[in-house]
Amino acid sequence: MPSPILQVRDLRTQFLTDGGIVTAVDGVSFDLYPGESLGIVGESGSGKSVTALSLLRLVPDPGKVVGGQVLFRDQDLLQLSGEEIREIRGRDVAMIFQDPQSSLNPVLRTGFQIDEAMLAHKKATKKEAHARTIELLKRVRIPAAESRVKDFPHQLSGGMRQRAMIAMGLSNAPAILIADEPTTALDVTVQAQILELLADLNRDLGTAIIMITHNMGVVAGLCSRVLVMYAGEIVEEGPVEQIFENPQHPYTWSLLRSIPRVDALRHERLRSIEGLAPDLLHPPSGCRFHPRCPFRIEKCLRDEPRLQEVAPNQQAACWVTMDRARKEMGADDRTDIRPGAGSGLKPGELID
């Protein structure tokens, strides 16, 4: 296996609010390999977006990266000067955002903005940049690219705007593209097109992609590996098929059970995860998922679990894990063990 292009170690980001300190990212570590596409999933407030922003030191006030390392090509991005990190942004690590409507400057022509992204890093002369912009717009499949470069953002459709943003992100041929919920604001059909485009670019250009999303479907379609975040921590990590097939953390398991499926049995009811995401001002003791966890044991209330190998290449931060929960409940893989699913098992039975 090649060496990772990005190594994140014990990343911690805090927000100083009036109510106190909120640790939005709490000891996150992961590796990203060249050309890989990595998904980071979690619900709102899980810290997935803040993690992405922390990598490039773009966390908005009053947030601050307070600890850890972000090693990119053997330099710690968190230690660089303002000038040095600006050089990295957009050139080596590019980022695209959720709402293409608002990520383009409304009063500047789209093509001009892509030109600027290249000129900011002195990668090209004005003329070269302009030619490359048209090439990039064609690359992201914007029809009539030659005339679209002169359009203002409001003259483009949502999907085209996101394509333009992707073109801008790719303009300096970055090693890593961070996509922060790039499809959330788009129509479903357009979402699929954008994901397909990202997958193509990942394969053809070898750009590593970090995909931030709350949508497990997006991860399944695009990523080879996934990190599941909950309350600022990584709770499970592993290859996508393996996680979908055999999730070990009850949160991942619940998350997968809450996706509507067309092939589900009629009588199977869709289950949401009980309870609310925790208040990060006062995070729960022990395992942060324990107040919402149907399989908690007493240890979960006291001690915080660390990520540990639960299967080859797969890690989960859980004292119980789904395998053990099933075994203790005498259930096999097929039994529906959701709380209240009528399997004869009572919820919270494992609580000792």
């Binding site: 908005p60 942004r89 590019a94 955002f97 009063v107 500047l108 900011a120 030659e146 203002f152 943003m165």
Partner: protein, 296 residues
């Protein structure tokens, strides 16, 4: 594939929502008062330019006719207390008013915009310092500041512009600061930062273009305020030095004889009022035309 797509997709040659500015201009033309303001101001500028080359009489020549004589066929607006042709002097006075009004705003923009942009974008101690200074300037009576400055620097056109700008830059700085404060949170600024744009580029390449509408409106309202201020200083005798005519000093010249020859006061006053009104109508029109909420 892209080539065939390009061939298939037909686009209208010129989309009607071409740009913010042509859009704004279209809306401005629909506003009758603003349009009247534009027409009057165009006329005024033409008069001011014409006065560089031609006036009916030399504006400083005394005794071209009888002092205090009223409007007649040779002297449309009559003559002042020295027998100087009032029309000629009003034409030259238009130059002074326009230069002071526009010149002041140029200085105000040059000073207020960068300060406001930096204060709003960087916040922190710089913003606190700027806000403190702005409040300090608001606390001092502007007339006093201007009077003292003109007195110290000496009465000249440049010094008057400086003095008025010193009392007026805060409005612009405060407005631009507010714009920057709001815009810095927008996603496209975040996207620009994520693409490695330098702060200078973000301030002048992204935030400024998005603030141009409010800046233009503010500057348009600032012009008549400056013109009025200059007229007021000149009325008090601290304006442009004689024999250079200013509408303010012309009115002051006639005030002693207002009972016997009111036209000496009335003529420059009407010129002043019309000009102030025209700028205010234009400002109102621009505010409506450039309001992004009304776009489309």
């Amino acid at each position: 594939m892209a080539a065939t797509a390009a061939a298939v997709v037909h686009r209208p040659a010129a989309p009607e929502q071409a740009s913010l500015w042509s859009d704004a201009w279209r809306r401005l033309r629909r506003n009758r008062l603003a349009l009247a303001g534009v027409i009057y101001l165009t006329f005024l500028v033409a008069v001011a330019v014409l006065a560089l080359f031609y006036t009916p009489y030399r504006m400083s020549e005394v005794g071209v006719t009888l002092p205090y004589s009223g409007p007649n066929a040779h002297h449309w607006l009559g003559a002042d207390y020295l027998g100087r042709d009032i029309l000629s002097r009003i034409m030259v006075g238009a130059q002074i008013s326009l230069v002071v009004g526009v010149g002041t705003q140029v200085v105000v923009i040059a000073v207020g915009v960068p300060i406001g942009l930096m204060a709003g974008y960087f916040r922190g101690w710089f913003d606190q310092g700027v806000s403190f200074i702005i409040n300090l300037f608001y606390g001092i009576p502007d007339l006093l500041v201007a009077l003292i400055l003109v007195f110290l620097l000496g009465p000249s056109l440049t010094n008057i512009i400086i003095a008025i700008a010193v009392t007026r830059w805060m409005d612009m700085a405060r407005l631009v600061r507010g714009q920057a404060l709001a815009l810095r949170e927008r996603e496209f600024i975040e996207a620009a930062r994520a693409s490695g744009a330098k702060p200078f580029k973000i301030l002048f390449g992204h935030i400024l273009p998005n603030s141009l509408g409010p800046i233009i409106v503010q500057a348009t309202f600032g012009v008549p305020a400056a013109i009025l201020f200059e007229a007021f200083l000149s009325f008090l005798g601290l304006g442009v030095p004689p024999p250079q005519p200013s509408w303010g000093s012309m009115a002051a010249d006639g005030i002693a004889a207002i009972r016997i020859a009111p036209h000496i006061v009335i003529a420059p006053s009407i010129a002043l009022s019309l000009t102030l009104m025209a700028f205010n109508f234009l400002g109102d029109g621009l505010r409506d035309a450039l309001d992004p909420r009304q776009r489309r």
